[in-house]
C-alpha cells in the first residue's frame, strides 16, 4: 500500500510538513506544490529534513519556476500529466489541506 502525500503550504511557520514526514510510510511519495516548494530552499531546516529522509520526492514544475527554486537531484520535477499519473501509481492521495 502506498500513499501520495501532497503539500501546498510553506513549511516555515506551518506544521504540515513536519507532521507529514512523521507519518510518511516507506512506500509513500511526497509532492510539493504551491508554497511547499520553498522546502527546497537550500540552507533551511526543511531542505535538510527532506534530504536526510531520502523519500520519493516530487515537485510541481510551475511552482518551482515561479519561485526561482532550483530542484536538487534527489527530487523529481513533474508537470500536470505526470501529476495525474502519480496519483494513479499510488493507492490513494492525501492532500494536506
Amino acid at each position: 500500500m502506498s500513499t501520495l502525500h501532497v503539500l501546498s503550504h510553506s513549511p516555515f511557520g506551518d506544521d504540515r510538513l513536519n507532521s507529514c514526514l512523521r507519518l510518511l510510510g516507506s512506500a509513500d511519495a511526497l509532492l510539493l506544490c504551491g508554497d511547499a516548494v520553498y522546502a527546497l530552499q537550500p540552507g533551511g531546516a526543511p531542505f535538510s529534513a527532506l534530504q536526510d529522509k531520502k523519500i520519493s520526492l516530487f515537485v510541481l514544475l510551475e511552482d518551482a519556476q515561479a519561485r526561482a527554486i532550483e530542484i536538487p537531484d534527489w527530487a523529481k520535477v513533474i508537470d500536470y500529466p505526470a501529476f495525474v499519473e502519480l496519483s494513479i501509481d499510488h493507492d490513494k492521495v492525501n492532500s494536506w489541506l
Partner: protein, 130 residues
C-alpha cells in the same frame, strides 16, 4: 481511471487553479471525472457574483466552461454554500434573499454526493488550503 475531485478553496487560491489544471490533465489523459465536488470555500468557485479584473485569470468562468464543454457533474455543497452566501434562485426564495449567485451547470446538493463520488471513483483527490 475514475477520479473524484474535491475543491475546498476559493477561486483566488492557487490550489483552485491547480485543481482545474489537474482535472483538465485527467481528461486529456483519457481518464474520467465522476464528479467535481465543491466544499468549504470551494463553493465560491461557483459564484456568478465574483468580478475578476480584466487582466487576471477568471477561474469561475473557466470552471463553468470546463464543466459545460466536458458535460461534467459540478456539485456544490448546499450547506457550505448557504453559509457563504452562494445561493441559487430556489434557496434565495426560501431564505428571502435578494442575491442569486449560482446557476446551471452548477448543482447545489448535500454531502451524500461527495460520499457517492468517493464510492464510485478509483481515486479521490482533494485540493485546497493554499
Amino acid at each position: 481511471m475514475k477520479f473524484a475531485i474535491v475543491l475546498f478553496s476559493a477561486a483566488h487560491a492557487p490550489s483552485s487553479r491547480r485543481a482545474l489544471l489537474f482535472a483538465q490533465a485527467a481528461l486529456a489523459g483519457g481518464h474520467e471525472i465522476v464528479r467535481l465536488f465543491f466544499y468549504q470555500d470551494g463553493v465560491y468557485n461557483a459564484s456568478d457574483a465574483l468580478v475578476t479584473p480584466q487582466d487576471e485569470l477568471d477561474l469561475p468562468k473557466q470552471w463553468r466552461t470546463f464543466i459545460d464543454e466536458q458535460k461534467l457533474d459540478g456539485v456544490v455543497c448546499i450547506a457550505a454554500a448557504l453559509r457563504r452566501g452562494v445561493l441559487n434562485a430556489e434557496e434565495a426564495k426560501r431564505y428571502q434573499r435578494e442575491a442569486v449567485s449560482i446557476s446551471a451547470p452548477w448543482e447545489l446538493s448535500g454531502l451524500g454526493q461527495l460520499h457517492d463520488a468517493v464510492q464510485d471513483a478509483d481515486r479521490l483527490i482533494c485540493f485546497g488550503g493554499a
